[in-house]
Structures are given as structure tokens and as C-alpha cells.
Symmetry: C2
């Protein structure tokens, strides 16, 4: 849990919007061809479309959120699915409460 890495990831409103959208994926992102949005997570292109960013930016933002421990990734075939990492998020919230 690198708290500084997490804070930098959260310092961008678009990345926070992605994290927020993933609370209720079906409501925020268009349906995807394969993979259950609730079980597997949301694929990059669906997040891209929902959030309105370029494909490259979407991909790197998601990697950044993942390195910060805020989302979890599952790769299957051509698709990469992202979902919130609730454990990581709680750990961060706790670290803020304890250390700040």
C-alpha cells in the first residue's frame, strides 16, 4: 500500500470518475460483447466509450489505477476486464484515517 501512489492516482478527476463508474458498471458503461460485466468486470473499450477518452489514455489510466491497488484486472483472450479492488480501496481509506 503505497499511499503516495494512490493519492497521485486520485489526483485526476477522470480517474476518479472511472473508479466511481465501476461502482455500478451496468449503469455507467455500455454493454460488452463478452464477459459478464458484474462478474468479470468491464473491458477497456467499454470504459473508454463510457468515460469518453481515447483508447490509449483509457488503457494507461487503468494500468495506473491498478498499480495503485484501486482496481483489479482479469485478462481473458483479447479482453482485459477491470473491476474495483474493494480491499485496496478500504486499505487506503484506513491508511488515510490512521496516518494523515
Amino acid at each position: 500500500m503505497n499511499i503516495h501512489l494512490v493519492i497521485k492516482a486520485l489526483a485526476n478527476p477522470t480517474r476518479v470518475a472511472i473508479l466511481n463508474g465501476l461502482k455500478n458498471p451496468a449503469a455507467h458503461f455500455p454493454p460488452q460483447d463478452e464477459g459478464d460485466i458484474a462478474v468479470d468486470g468491464v473491458c477497456v473499450s467499454s470504459i473508454q466509450e463510457g468515460i469518453g477518452l481515447s483508447q490509449s489514455t483509457t488503457s494507461s489510466y487503468l494500468e495506473l489505477l491498478q498499480r495503485a491497488g484501486l482496481v483489479k484486472v482479469t485478462r481473458r483472450g483479447r479482453w482485459t476486464y477491470y473491476k474495483r479492488d474493494e480491499d485496496g480501496i478500504s486499505q487506503f481509506a484506513e491508511a488515510v484515517k490512521q496516518q494523515l
Copy 2:
């Protein structure tokens, strides 16, 4: 409580170090000529010396922390004293826990 403003303020390790140093000012900053360090807070020049920044940077970082609601300011004569705003800090910790 502008959560984005707070996160941006915390996105800089030096500002976090200031906030952290203010938990125990007497241990982290040199004594000041006037004003009780525990009651009034710590003056800008003492923080500057303790943290090792230029005067101008110290002053603007403190203003930024104050606008974010993380520190409180008291001006008396030539001196400006800063201390942690524990209410603001708790509010932020709670907002992270609830909203993130």
C-alpha cells in the same frame, strides 16, 4: 470540503511532510521567538527551516494546505502561525471512506 482540492494538496510529499511535522511541532521545527508553538501553532519561518524549503515555497504550500482545509491559520502582528485542522482532516478521512 472539496475532496479534489484536498487530494491535490496531498499529492506533494513535501506538503504531506509539513502536515505530518505539525503533529508534534516541537519535535520537528526549531523554537520560535514569539508565540507558543503548542497553542498558537508554528510560524512560517520555523516551518521553512524545519522542512528545508525556500521562504516563498513554504508560504505558498501553507496557503494551499489552508485552502484545502488541512491547516488553520492565526495571524498576529508580523507572525503567521499554522496548526493542523483536525476537524478538516477527519472530514476528509470520512469523505474518502464514504465516497471513494
